[in-house]
Symmetry: C2
Subunit: 176 residues, 2 copies
């Protein structure tokens, strides 16, 4: 994995890919899927996300204030759905899905080796956690896997239906 | 335009398309592009979004607490970029881009006739507006244009580069 400049993080998340979020507590890591996220600031990159309090990850995220956002490409779609359809309460999801946790640099939550990008994050705002399960994260460090060229991300439309990145159009624009 | 059940709104925004946001005040409507948005709740649909205080729309949104989120398909890409690269401070963007404002039912902000979906929204939370320019909206009514079959949305990667919806994959999942 290679460093990705923090100024480019928004280009990963702004297009709305399904991502996975890892957390860890007491030596036990967990992973969930997430589509409810958005950029809030370019640099340092701030990200808002919704982690339902029905999710096993919610308590860990709130307590540790740390997580990793991992971005999977199309090849991982089946595993992404698998992660979303079981709970860390009852299984070790990394083992069950055959995903590889890697140590991060700034947080105890693990990176996901199979994902083409990994963002180490800390929680910086919890004002809307009680009302909306909405956390604001700051990205401390971003990793990119240079071995995965032109990864296609997937975009969830509900119940396992995903639109895959198709053609790329380039139009003249001065806006980041 | 036809009613879309509010329970299906998340399927429009969860995949992360570029959208446009309209506002209106004192008989003058404006429109901006937006990629920083996410779902917060299924039903009634709640949406969080970031509208920079550098945008002309910011003051209007904060004052009127009303807007419309309009979802454009690929065919509108050039106009979407045009909307993003000029300011309502100096031009009537609807006129300049050849977009057609239509009256909404519950808000003074207009629908956009050319967009395949339009969501009438009111602001329901402003706790994070001063700190992050982050608004939470509730969708009051959703419209869909049945004449636009299988619209392909566009996903912004920065500076006018968009990934267009490609193939659709369907995997077994019980999750909405």
């Amino acid at each position: 994995m290679k460093d990705l400049p923090l100024s480019k993080v928004y280009q990963l998340l702004e297009p709305g890919p399904v991502v996975m979020l890892t957390t860890a507590r007491k030596g036990r890591a967990n992973i969930m899927t997430m589509s409810w996220h958005m950029m809030v600031e370019f640099e340092p990159p701030l990200i808002a996300c919704v982690v339902s309090n029905a999710n096993y990850s919610f308590d860990t995220l709130r307590a540790t204030k740390e997580c990793v956002i991992a971005v999977p490409a199309l090849e991982l779609a089946q595993k992404v759905v698998g992660v979303g359809n079981c709970s860390g309460r009852t299984v070790d999801k990394f083992k069950r899905l055959g995903l590889t946790p890697l140590p991060a640099e700034n947080v105890t939550a693990p990176l996901v080796a199979e994902c083409f990008a990994n963002l180490e994050c800390k929680v910086v705002d919890t004002h809307l956690v009680n009302k909306f399960n909405l956390f604001v994260l700051e990205v401390l460090k971003a990793w990119i896997d240079p071995a995965q060229k032109h990864p296609k991300t997937i975009h969830h439309h509900g119940y396992g239906r995903f639109a895959v990145d198709g053609e790329v159009v380039k139009l003249k624009s001065s806006k980041p």
